[in-house]
Symmetry: C2
Subunit: 267 residues, 2 copies
Protein backbone atom coordinates (compact mmCIF):
# COMPACT_ATOMS: atom_id res chain seq x y z
CA UNK A 1 0.00 0.00 0.00
CA UNK A 2 1.39 3.43 -0.93
CA UNK A 3 2.38 5.86 1.83
CA UNK A 4 -0.63 8.09 2.24
CA UNK A 5 0.65 10.27 5.08
CA UNK A 6 0.51 14.06 4.72
CA UNK A 7 2.34 15.87 7.54
CA UNK A 8 2.24 19.50 6.44
CA UNK A 9 -0.56 22.04 6.52
CA UNK A 10 1.14 23.57 3.51
CA UNK A 11 0.67 20.53 1.32
CA UNK A 12 -0.97 21.63 -1.94
CA UNK A 13 -3.54 18.83 -1.55
CA UNK A 14 -4.50 20.06 1.93
CA UNK A 15 -4.71 23.68 0.83
CA UNK A 16 -6.95 22.75 -2.09
CA UNK A 17 -9.28 20.77 0.16
CA UNK A 18 -9.43 23.59 2.72
CA UNK A 19 -10.46 26.02 0.00
CA UNK A 20 -13.63 23.96 -0.56
CA UNK A 21 -15.15 25.77 2.46
CA UNK A 22 -15.86 28.56 -0.05
CA UNK A 23 -18.64 28.34 -2.61
CA UNK A 24 -16.49 29.88 -5.35
CA UNK A 25 -13.78 27.30 -4.88
CA UNK A 26 -16.32 24.48 -4.94
CA UNK A 27 -17.58 25.76 -8.29
CA UNK A 28 -14.05 26.18 -9.67
CA UNK A 29 -12.74 22.82 -8.49
CA UNK A 30 -16.02 21.03 -9.29
CA UNK A 31 -15.55 19.34 -5.93
CA UNK A 32 -17.01 19.71 -2.44
CA UNK A 33 -16.17 18.42 1.03
CA UNK A 34 -18.24 16.15 3.27
CA UNK A 35 -17.39 16.25 6.96
CA UNK A 36 -18.72 13.62 9.35
CA UNK A 37 -19.24 9.90 9.44
CA UNK A 38 -23.00 9.76 9.00
CA UNK A 39 -22.89 12.38 6.27
CA UNK A 40 -20.19 10.55 4.28
CA UNK A 41 -22.07 7.27 4.69
CA UNK A 42 -25.25 8.82 3.30
CA UNK A 43 -23.31 10.44 0.45
CA UNK A 44 -21.94 7.06 -0.60
CA UNK A 45 -25.40 5.48 -0.27
CA UNK A 46 -26.79 8.31 -2.40
CA UNK A 47 -24.27 7.68 -5.17
CA UNK A 48 -21.80 10.52 -4.55
CA UNK A 49 -18.50 10.12 -6.36
CA UNK A 50 -15.83 10.28 -3.65
CA UNK A 51 -12.47 11.37 -5.06
CA UNK A 52 -10.27 11.30 -1.96
CA UNK A 53 -10.52 11.57 1.80
CA UNK A 54 -8.55 12.86 4.80
CA UNK A 55 -8.50 10.70 7.94
CA UNK A 56 -7.12 11.54 11.36
CA UNK A 57 -6.56 8.30 13.28
CA UNK A 58 -6.51 10.06 16.66
CA UNK A 59 -10.04 11.35 16.07
CA UNK A 60 -11.64 8.36 14.33
CA UNK A 61 -13.91 6.43 16.66
CA UNK A 62 -13.89 2.65 16.52
CA UNK A 63 -16.73 0.93 14.72
CA UNK A 64 -18.66 2.77 12.03
CA UNK A 65 -15.98 5.41 11.42
CA UNK A 66 -13.18 2.92 10.87
CA UNK A 67 -15.31 0.63 8.72
CA UNK A 68 -16.14 3.62 6.56
CA UNK A 69 -12.42 4.27 6.01
CA UNK A 70 -11.96 0.61 5.12
CA UNK A 71 -14.92 0.83 2.75
CA UNK A 72 -13.41 3.84 0.98
CA UNK A 73 -10.02 2.16 0.67
CA UNK A 74 -11.63 -1.00 -0.66
CA UNK A 75 -13.15 1.17 -3.42
CA UNK A 76 -9.66 2.52 -4.28
CA UNK A 77 -10.39 5.98 -2.89
CA UNK A 78 -7.11 7.51 -1.65
CA UNK A 79 -7.45 8.15 2.09
CA UNK A 80 -4.74 10.57 3.24
CA UNK A 81 -3.60 10.13 6.84
CA UNK A 82 -3.12 13.43 8.62
CA UNK A 83 -2.52 14.59 12.19
CA UNK A 84 -4.95 16.73 14.19
CA UNK A 85 -3.35 19.95 13.06
CA UNK A 86 -3.61 19.19 9.35
CA UNK A 87 -7.08 17.70 9.84
CA UNK A 88 -8.25 20.90 11.54
CA UNK A 89 -7.40 22.80 8.39
CA UNK A 90 -9.51 20.56 6.15
CA UNK A 91 -12.42 20.05 8.56
CA UNK A 92 -15.28 22.52 8.83
CA UNK A 93 -16.72 23.77 12.10
CA UNK A 94 -16.18 22.38 15.56
CA UNK A 95 -17.35 18.77 15.38
CA UNK A 96 -14.37 16.69 14.30
CA UNK A 97 -15.14 13.04 13.65
CA UNK A 98 -11.82 12.38 11.96
CA UNK A 99 -12.93 11.93 8.37
CA UNK A 100 -13.51 14.41 5.55
CA UNK A 101 -14.33 13.14 2.08
CA UNK A 102 -13.90 15.15 -1.10
CA UNK A 103 -16.46 14.39 -3.81
CA UNK A 104 -17.22 15.51 -7.34
CA UNK A 105 -19.77 18.33 -7.42
CA UNK A 106 -22.88 16.84 -9.02
CA UNK A 107 -25.36 18.55 -11.31
CA UNK A 108 -28.97 18.64 -10.18
CA UNK A 109 -30.98 18.80 -13.42
CA UNK A 110 -34.78 18.64 -13.35
CA UNK A 111 -34.62 16.19 -16.24
CA UNK A 112 -32.84 13.64 -14.05
CA UNK A 113 -35.69 13.44 -11.53
CA UNK A 114 -37.66 10.24 -11.86
CA UNK A 115 -41.07 10.66 -10.29
CA UNK A 116 -43.35 7.84 -9.15
CA UNK A 117 -47.09 7.86 -9.89
CA UNK A 118 -48.84 10.54 -7.78
CA UNK A 119 -45.58 12.22 -6.78
CA UNK A 120 -45.25 14.50 -3.79
CA UNK A 121 -42.82 17.28 -4.70
CA UNK A 122 -41.57 20.13 -2.52
CA UNK A 123 -40.35 23.35 -4.14
CA UNK A 124 -38.21 25.79 -2.12
CA UNK A 125 -38.02 29.27 -3.58
CA UNK A 126 -35.38 31.76 -2.48
CA UNK A 127 -34.51 30.12 0.82
CA UNK A 128 -31.14 31.70 1.51
CA UNK A 129 -30.02 30.23 4.81
CA UNK A 130 -28.21 26.91 4.28
CA UNK A 131 -29.45 25.76 7.71
CA UNK A 132 -33.06 26.24 6.62
CA UNK A 133 -32.53 24.40 3.33
CA UNK A 134 -30.90 21.54 5.20
CA UNK A 135 -33.68 21.40 7.79
CA UNK A 136 -36.33 21.22 5.05
CA UNK A 137 -34.40 18.43 3.30
CA UNK A 138 -34.26 16.47 6.55
CA UNK A 139 -38.04 16.77 6.96
CA UNK A 140 -38.57 15.97 3.26
CA UNK A 141 -36.58 12.78 3.78
CA UNK A 142 -38.71 11.92 6.82
CA UNK A 143 -41.97 12.60 5.02
CA UNK A 144 -40.83 10.54 2.04
CA UNK A 145 -41.13 13.31 -0.55
CA UNK A 146 -40.61 12.14 -4.12
CA UNK A 147 -38.34 15.10 -4.88
CA UNK A 148 -37.30 18.56 -3.72
CA UNK A 149 -36.70 21.33 -6.27
CA UNK A 150 -34.51 24.18 -5.05
CA UNK A 151 -35.16 27.51 -6.80
CA UNK A 152 -32.99 30.64 -6.39
CA UNK A 153 -31.13 29.50 -3.30
CA UNK A 154 -28.59 32.03 -2.09
CA UNK A 155 -25.82 29.46 -1.99
CA UNK A 156 -24.81 26.25 -3.65
CA UNK A 157 -26.60 23.20 -2.34
CA UNK A 158 -23.45 21.47 -1.13
CA UNK A 159 -22.58 24.15 1.35
CA UNK A 160 -21.16 22.51 4.51
CA UNK A 161 -23.97 23.99 6.63
CA UNK A 162 -26.63 22.52 4.36
CA UNK A 163 -24.98 19.10 4.44
CA UNK A 164 -24.78 19.22 8.23
CA UNK A 165 -28.27 20.54 8.98
CA UNK A 166 -29.72 18.02 6.52
CA UNK A 167 -27.87 15.25 8.42
CA UNK A 168 -26.65 14.09 5.04
CA UNK A 169 -30.16 13.68 3.59
CA UNK A 170 -29.09 16.17 0.89
CA UNK A 171 -27.51 13.03 -0.62
CA UNK A 172 -30.50 10.72 -0.32
CA UNK A 173 -33.52 12.89 -1.22
CA UNK A 174 -33.95 13.29 -5.01
CA UNK A 175 -33.10 16.97 -5.66
CA UNK A 176 -33.09 19.33 -8.61
CA UNK A 177 -31.87 22.92 -8.85
CA UNK A 178 -33.66 25.12 -11.38
CA UNK A 179 -35.11 28.56 -12.02
CA UNK A 180 -38.69 29.36 -11.09
CA UNK A 181 -39.82 29.42 -14.74
CA UNK A 182 -38.16 26.07 -15.49
CA UNK A 183 -39.71 24.57 -12.39
CA UNK A 184 -43.23 25.79 -13.21
CA UNK A 185 -42.97 24.42 -16.75
CA UNK A 186 -41.70 21.11 -15.47
CA UNK A 187 -44.41 20.84 -12.79
CA UNK A 188 -47.09 21.48 -15.44
CA UNK A 189 -45.55 18.85 -17.71
CA UNK A 190 -45.70 16.37 -14.83
CA UNK A 191 -49.40 17.15 -14.38
CA UNK A 192 -49.11 17.89 -10.67
CA UNK A 193 -51.48 20.15 -8.77
CA UNK A 194 -49.44 23.11 -7.48
CA UNK A 195 -50.12 24.40 -3.96
CA UNK A 196 -48.20 27.45 -2.78
CA UNK A 197 -48.00 28.44 0.89
CA UNK A 198 -48.95 32.10 1.15
CA UNK A 199 -49.96 34.06 4.25
CA UNK A 200 -52.72 35.82 2.28
CA UNK A 201 -54.35 32.57 1.12
CA UNK A 202 -58.06 32.01 1.78
CA UNK A 203 -57.81 28.25 2.09
CA UNK A 204 -56.27 26.47 5.08
CA UNK A 205 -53.65 23.89 4.18
CA UNK A 206 -55.65 20.95 5.50
CA UNK A 207 -58.37 21.62 2.91
CA UNK A 208 -55.89 20.94 0.10
CA UNK A 209 -56.06 17.52 -1.52
CA UNK A 210 -52.56 16.09 -1.22
CA UNK A 211 -53.48 12.57 -2.32
CA UNK A 212 -53.05 13.07 -6.07
CA UNK A 213 -49.87 14.26 -7.82
CA UNK A 214 -48.95 17.37 -5.88
CA UNK A 215 -46.26 20.02 -5.49
CA UNK A 216 -45.97 22.13 -2.32
CA UNK A 217 -44.22 25.46 -2.94
CA UNK A 218 -42.63 27.43 -0.10
CA UNK A 219 -41.03 30.86 -0.37
CA UNK A 220 -38.68 32.71 1.95
CA UNK A 221 -40.15 34.49 4.95
CA UNK A 222 -38.64 37.79 3.88
CA UNK A 223 -39.44 37.73 0.17
CA UNK A 224 -42.45 35.46 -0.17
CA UNK A 225 -43.17 34.07 -3.63
CA UNK A 226 -42.65 36.11 -6.80
CA UNK A 227 -45.11 36.75 -9.63
CA UNK A 228 -44.32 33.39 -11.29
CA UNK A 229 -46.08 31.68 -8.42
CA UNK A 230 -49.26 33.75 -8.64
CA UNK A 231 -50.41 32.05 -11.85
CA UNK A 232 -54.08 30.97 -11.98
CA UNK A 233 -53.18 27.28 -11.76
CA UNK A 234 -51.20 27.78 -8.53
CA UNK A 235 -53.49 27.27 -5.55
CA UNK A 236 -52.71 29.31 -2.47
CA UNK A 237 -52.90 27.65 0.93
CA UNK A 238 -52.01 28.95 4.37
CA UNK A 239 -51.19 27.77 7.82
CA UNK A 240 -53.54 29.37 10.34
CA UNK A 241 -51.69 31.67 12.74
CA UNK A 242 -53.25 31.90 16.19
CA UNK A 243 -50.72 34.06 18.03
CA UNK A 244 -48.64 37.19 17.82
CA UNK A 245 -46.35 36.23 14.92
CA UNK A 246 -47.66 36.23 11.36
CA UNK A 247 -45.64 33.35 9.97
CA UNK A 248 -43.80 30.17 10.87
CA UNK A 249 -40.15 29.55 10.20
CA UNK A 250 -39.98 28.09 6.67
CA UNK A 251 -38.65 24.77 7.91
CA UNK A 252 -41.51 24.46 10.43
CA UNK A 253 -44.08 25.34 7.76
CA UNK A 254 -42.51 22.83 5.37
CA UNK A 255 -42.63 20.07 7.97
CA UNK A 256 -46.31 20.71 8.74
CA UNK A 257 -47.29 20.72 5.05
CA UNK A 258 -45.22 17.70 4.02
CA UNK A 259 -46.46 15.62 6.95
CA UNK A 260 -50.07 16.68 6.28
CA UNK A 261 -49.63 15.39 2.73
CA UNK A 262 -48.19 12.15 4.10
CA UNK A 263 -51.03 11.86 6.63
CA UNK A 264 -53.66 12.26 3.91
CA UNK A 265 -51.92 9.43 2.12
CA UNK A 266 -52.38 7.31 5.26
CA UNK A 267 -48.76 7.85 6.35
CA UNK B 1 -36.41 66.50 30.00
CA UNK B 2 -33.17 65.29 31.56
CA UNK B 3 -30.10 64.86 29.37
CA UNK B 4 -30.10 61.20 28.49
CA UNK B 5 -27.02 61.15 26.25
CA UNK B 6 -24.25 58.63 26.98
CA UNK B 7 -21.15 59.21 24.88
CA UNK B 8 -18.66 56.73 26.29
CA UNK B 9 -18.35 52.99 25.83
CA UNK B 10 -16.82 52.99 29.29
CA UNK B 11 -19.95 54.28 30.99
CA UNK B 12 -20.83 51.96 33.86
CA UNK B 13 -24.41 51.75 32.60
CA UNK B 14 -23.25 50.66 29.15
CA UNK B 15 -20.82 48.11 30.55
CA UNK B 16 -23.54 46.62 32.76
CA UNK B 17 -25.94 46.32 29.82
CA UNK B 18 -23.27 44.74 27.60
CA UNK B 19 -22.61 42.11 30.26
CA UNK B 20 -26.21 40.89 29.84
CA UNK B 21 -25.04 38.94 26.79
CA UNK B 22 -23.88 36.35 29.35
CA UNK B 23 -26.29 34.06 31.16
CA UNK B 24 -24.46 34.42 34.46
CA UNK B 25 -24.72 38.19 34.36
CA UNK B 26 -28.42 38.00 33.53
CA UNK B 27 -28.94 35.85 36.62
CA UNK B 28 -26.83 38.14 38.80
CA UNK B 29 -28.38 41.38 37.61
CA UNK B 30 -31.90 39.91 37.44
CA UNK B 31 -32.16 41.69 34.12
CA UNK B 32 -31.94 40.76 30.44
CA UNK B 33 -31.64 42.60 27.13
CA UNK B 34 -34.11 42.69 24.25
CA UNK B 35 -32.70 43.70 20.88
CA UNK B 36 -34.95 44.62 17.97
CA UNK B 37 -38.13 46.58 17.38
CA UNK B 38 -40.55 43.69 16.91
CA UNK B 39 -39.09 41.82 19.87
CA UNK B 40 -39.35 44.82 22.21
CA UNK B 41 -42.90 45.49 21.05
CA UNK B 42 -43.91 41.90 21.79
CA UNK B 43 -42.16 42.05 25.17
CA UNK B 44 -44.21 45.11 26.16
CA UNK B 45 -47.41 43.47 24.86
CA UNK B 46 -46.53 40.38 26.89
CA UNK B 47 -46.15 42.40 30.09
CA UNK B 48 -42.34 42.57 30.38
CA UNK B 49 -41.11 45.16 32.86
CA UNK B 50 -38.79 47.42 30.86
CA UNK B 51 -36.27 49.18 33.13
CA UNK B 52 -34.32 51.27 30.64
CA UNK B 53 -33.39 51.35 26.97
CA UNK B 54 -30.56 52.40 24.66
CA UNK B 55 -31.47 54.14 21.42
CA UNK B 56 -29.23 55.10 18.51
CA UNK B 57 -30.97 57.78 16.45
CA UNK B 58 -28.81 57.10 13.39
CA UNK B 59 -30.04 53.51 13.27
CA UNK B 60 -33.68 53.93 14.25
CA UNK B 61 -35.99 53.67 11.27
CA UNK B 62 -38.93 56.03 11.01
CA UNK B 63 -42.36 54.72 11.91
CA UNK B 64 -42.69 51.76 14.24
CA UNK B 65 -39.20 52.10 15.76
CA UNK B 66 -39.60 55.77 16.67
CA UNK B 67 -43.11 55.32 18.02
CA UNK B 68 -41.78 52.54 20.22
CA UNK B 69 -39.20 54.93 21.68
CA UNK B 70 -41.95 57.48 22.28
CA UNK B 71 -44.09 54.80 23.89
CA UNK B 72 -41.26 53.86 26.28
CA UNK B 73 -40.61 57.50 27.19
CA UNK B 74 -44.32 58.09 27.78
CA UNK B 75 -44.16 55.24 30.33
CA UNK B 76 -41.25 56.98 32.10
CA UNK B 77 -38.70 54.42 30.94
CA UNK B 78 -35.28 56.12 30.68
CA UNK B 79 -34.13 55.88 27.05
CA UNK B 80 -30.41 56.59 26.84
CA UNK B 81 -29.25 58.16 23.56
CA UNK B 82 -26.03 56.65 22.29
CA UNK B 83 -23.97 56.81 19.11
CA UNK B 84 -23.30 53.84 16.83
CA UNK B 85 -20.13 52.93 18.64
CA UNK B 86 -21.71 52.77 22.09
CA UNK B 87 -24.80 51.07 20.65
CA UNK B 88 -22.64 48.38 19.07
CA UNK B 89 -21.39 47.46 22.52
CA UNK B 90 -24.88 46.99 23.97
CA UNK B 91 -26.46 45.35 20.90
CA UNK B 92 -26.19 41.62 20.25
CA UNK B 93 -25.33 40.10 16.88
CA UNK B 94 -25.28 41.79 13.52
CA UNK B 95 -28.80 43.14 13.03
CA UNK B 96 -28.89 46.61 14.53
CA UNK B 97 -32.32 48.23 14.60
CA UNK B 98 -31.23 51.01 16.93
CA UNK B 99 -33.05 50.03 20.11
CA UNK B 100 -32.12 47.70 22.95
CA UNK B 101 -34.39 47.46 25.99
CA UNK B 102 -33.30 46.16 29.39
CA UNK B 103 -36.02 44.35 31.31
CA UNK B 104 -36.42 42.68 34.67
CA UNK B 105 -35.77 38.93 34.47
CA UNK B 106 -39.13 37.28 35.12
CA UNK B 107 -39.82 34.05 36.95
CA UNK B 108 -41.66 31.34 35.02
CA UNK B 109 -43.48 29.33 37.72
CA UNK B 110 -45.86 26.53 36.74
CA UNK B 111 -48.31 27.87 39.30
CA UNK B 112 -48.70 31.08 37.31
CA UNK B 113 -49.98 29.31 34.19
CA UNK B 114 -53.70 29.75 33.71
CA UNK B 115 -55.03 27.05 31.44
CA UNK B 116 -58.29 27.17 29.49
CA UNK B 117 -60.68 24.23 29.33
CA UNK B 118 -59.19 21.43 27.19
CA UNK B 119 -55.73 22.99 27.17
CA UNK B 120 -53.07 22.16 24.61
CA UNK B 121 -49.69 22.17 26.36
CA UNK B 122 -46.25 21.58 24.85
CA UNK B 123 -43.41 20.31 27.07
CA UNK B 124 -39.80 20.67 25.88
CA UNK B 125 -37.34 18.44 27.72
CA UNK B 126 -33.60 19.03 27.57
CA UNK B 127 -33.58 21.11 24.38
CA UNK B 128 -30.20 22.79 24.67
CA UNK B 129 -29.91 24.95 21.58
CA UNK B 130 -31.51 28.35 22.13
CA UNK B 131 -32.34 28.53 18.42
CA UNK B 132 -34.38 25.33 18.67
CA UNK B 133 -36.24 26.51 21.77
CA UNK B 134 -37.02 29.79 20.02
CA UNK B 135 -38.20 28.01 16.86
CA UNK B 136 -40.54 25.79 18.88
CA UNK B 137 -41.94 28.82 20.70
CA UNK B 138 -42.62 30.52 17.38
CA UNK B 139 -44.54 27.47 16.14
CA UNK B 140 -46.33 27.15 19.50
CA UNK B 141 -47.48 30.74 19.10
CA UNK B 142 -48.70 30.00 15.58
CA UNK B 143 -50.55 26.85 16.64
CA UNK B 144 -52.14 28.70 19.56
CA UNK B 145 -50.79 26.43 22.29
CA UNK B 146 -52.22 27.15 25.75
CA UNK B 147 -48.75 26.96 27.33
CA UNK B 148 -45.19 25.71 26.83
CA UNK B 149 -43.29 24.15 29.74
CA UNK B 150 -39.51 24.17 29.39
CA UNK B 151 -37.74 21.39 31.32
CA UNK B 152 -33.96 21.15 31.76
CA UNK B 153 -33.00 23.64 29.08
CA UNK B 154 -29.27 24.13 28.77
CA UNK B 155 -29.56 27.88 29.03
CA UNK B 156 -31.82 30.51 30.51
CA UNK B 157 -34.94 31.19 28.49
CA UNK B 158 -34.12 34.84 27.86
CA UNK B 159 -30.94 34.09 25.97
CA UNK B 160 -30.64 36.58 23.06
CA UNK B 161 -30.69 33.74 20.52
CA UNK B 162 -33.93 32.36 21.94
CA UNK B 163 -35.57 35.78 21.87
CA UNK B 164 -34.50 36.29 18.27
CA UNK B 165 -35.36 32.86 16.88
CA UNK B 166 -38.73 33.04 18.64
CA UNK B 167 -39.34 36.42 16.91
CA UNK B 168 -40.29 37.71 20.34
CA UNK B 169 -43.02 35.10 20.88
CA UNK B 170 -41.08 34.06 24.02
CA UNK B 171 -42.90 37.07 25.50
CA UNK B 172 -46.39 36.25 24.27
CA UNK B 173 -46.73 32.47 24.66
CA UNK B 174 -47.54 31.45 28.27
CA UNK B 175 -44.36 29.74 29.50
CA UNK B 176 -43.22 27.92 32.62
CA UNK B 177 -39.78 26.57 33.54
CA UNK B 178 -39.75 23.52 35.82
CA UNK B 179 -38.11 20.18 36.49
CA UNK B 180 -39.40 17.02 34.84
CA UNK B 181 -40.87 15.72 38.11
CA UNK B 182 -42.64 19.01 38.86
CA UNK B 183 -44.01 19.11 35.34
CA UNK B 184 -45.35 15.55 35.44
CA UNK B 185 -47.06 16.20 38.78
CA UNK B 186 -48.56 19.41 37.46
CA UNK B 187 -49.77 17.80 34.20
CA UNK B 188 -51.48 15.04 36.22
CA UNK B 189 -53.12 17.61 38.47
CA UNK B 190 -54.45 19.39 35.38
CA UNK B 191 -55.95 16.11 34.18
CA UNK B 192 -54.34 16.27 30.75
CA UNK B 193 -53.56 13.24 28.61
CA UNK B 194 -49.80 13.10 28.16
CA UNK B 195 -48.38 12.17 24.76
CA UNK B 196 -44.62 11.84 24.40
CA UNK B 197 -42.89 11.79 21.02
CA UNK B 198 -40.57 8.79 20.94
CA UNK B 199 -38.96 7.12 17.93
CA UNK B 200 -39.68 3.68 19.41
CA UNK B 201 -43.42 4.33 19.79
CA UNK B 202 -45.90 1.90 18.22
CA UNK B 203 -48.59 4.49 17.56
CA UNK B 204 -48.35 7.13 14.84
CA UNK B 205 -49.00 10.67 16.02
CA UNK B 206 -52.14 11.12 13.95
CA UNK B 207 -53.83 8.29 15.90
CA UNK B 208 -53.53 10.33 19.10
CA UNK B 209 -56.64 12.19 20.25
CA UNK B 210 -55.61 15.80 20.60
CA UNK B 211 -59.11 17.20 21.06
CA UNK B 212 -59.34 16.79 24.84
CA UNK B 213 -56.94 18.29 27.41
CA UNK B 214 -53.54 17.26 26.09
CA UNK B 215 -49.81 17.69 26.64
CA UNK B 216 -47.28 16.96 23.88
CA UNK B 217 -43.82 16.13 25.24
CA UNK B 218 -40.70 16.45 23.09
CA UNK B 219 -37.16 15.48 24.10
CA UNK B 220 -33.81 16.39 22.62
CA UNK B 221 -32.62 14.48 19.58
CA UNK B 222 -29.43 13.44 21.33
CA UNK B 223 -30.79 12.45 24.73
CA UNK B 224 -34.42 11.54 24.11
CA UNK B 225 -36.74 11.46 27.13
CA UNK B 226 -35.59 10.21 30.54
CA UNK B 227 -37.19 7.60 32.77
CA UNK B 228 -39.70 10.14 34.19
CA UNK B 229 -41.40 10.18 30.81
CA UNK B 230 -41.75 6.41 30.52
CA UNK B 231 -44.49 6.22 33.17
CA UNK B 232 -47.54 4.08 32.32
CA UNK B 233 -49.79 7.11 31.91
CA UNK B 234 -47.47 8.68 29.30
CA UNK B 235 -48.54 7.57 25.84
CA UNK B 236 -45.78 7.24 23.26
CA UNK B 237 -46.40 8.52 19.75
CA UNK B 238 -44.09 8.75 16.77
CA UNK B 239 -43.69 10.54 13.49
CA UNK B 240 -43.27 7.99 10.71
CA UNK B 241 -39.84 8.25 9.07
CA UNK B 242 -39.79 7.30 5.39
CA UNK B 243 -36.21 8.10 4.45
CA UNK B 244 -32.60 7.69 5.49
CA UNK B 245 -32.67 9.74 8.72
CA UNK B 246 -34.26 8.33 11.83
CA UNK B 247 -35.60 11.54 13.34
CA UNK B 248 -36.74 15.05 12.52
CA UNK B 249 -35.20 18.17 13.96
CA UNK B 250 -37.05 18.84 17.24
CA UNK B 251 -38.53 22.09 15.97
CA UNK B 252 -39.86 20.36 12.84
CA UNK B 253 -41.36 17.52 14.93
CA UNK B 254 -42.91 20.05 17.32
CA UNK B 255 -44.49 21.99 14.45
CA UNK B 256 -46.00 18.83 12.94
CA UNK B 257 -47.45 17.64 16.27
CA UNK B 258 -48.79 21.02 17.40
CA UNK B 259 -50.45 21.71 14.06
CA UNK B 260 -51.93 18.19 13.99
CA UNK B 261 -53.49 18.95 17.38
CA UNK B 262 -54.81 22.25 16.03
CA UNK B 263 -56.14 20.51 12.89
CA UNK B 264 -58.01 17.94 14.96
CA UNK B 265 -59.57 20.87 16.79
CA UNK B 266 -60.76 22.20 13.41
CA UNK B 267 -57.93 24.74 13.29
Amino acid sequence: MPDRRITSRHSERVKQAARLHNARDRAEQHRFAIDGIREIGRAIDGGAEILEAFACDELLAAGEARSLVARLEASDVPVWRVDRDVFGKVAYGARHEGLVAIARLPEFPLAALKLPAAPLVAVLVGIEKPGNVGAVLRSADGAGMSAVVVVDAGTDLLNPNTIRSSLGTVFTVPIAVATGAETLTWLREQGVTIYAARPDAQRNYDMADFVGPVAIVLGSEAEGLGADWHAPDVRAIKLPMHGAADSLNVSAAAAVLMYEARRQRQL
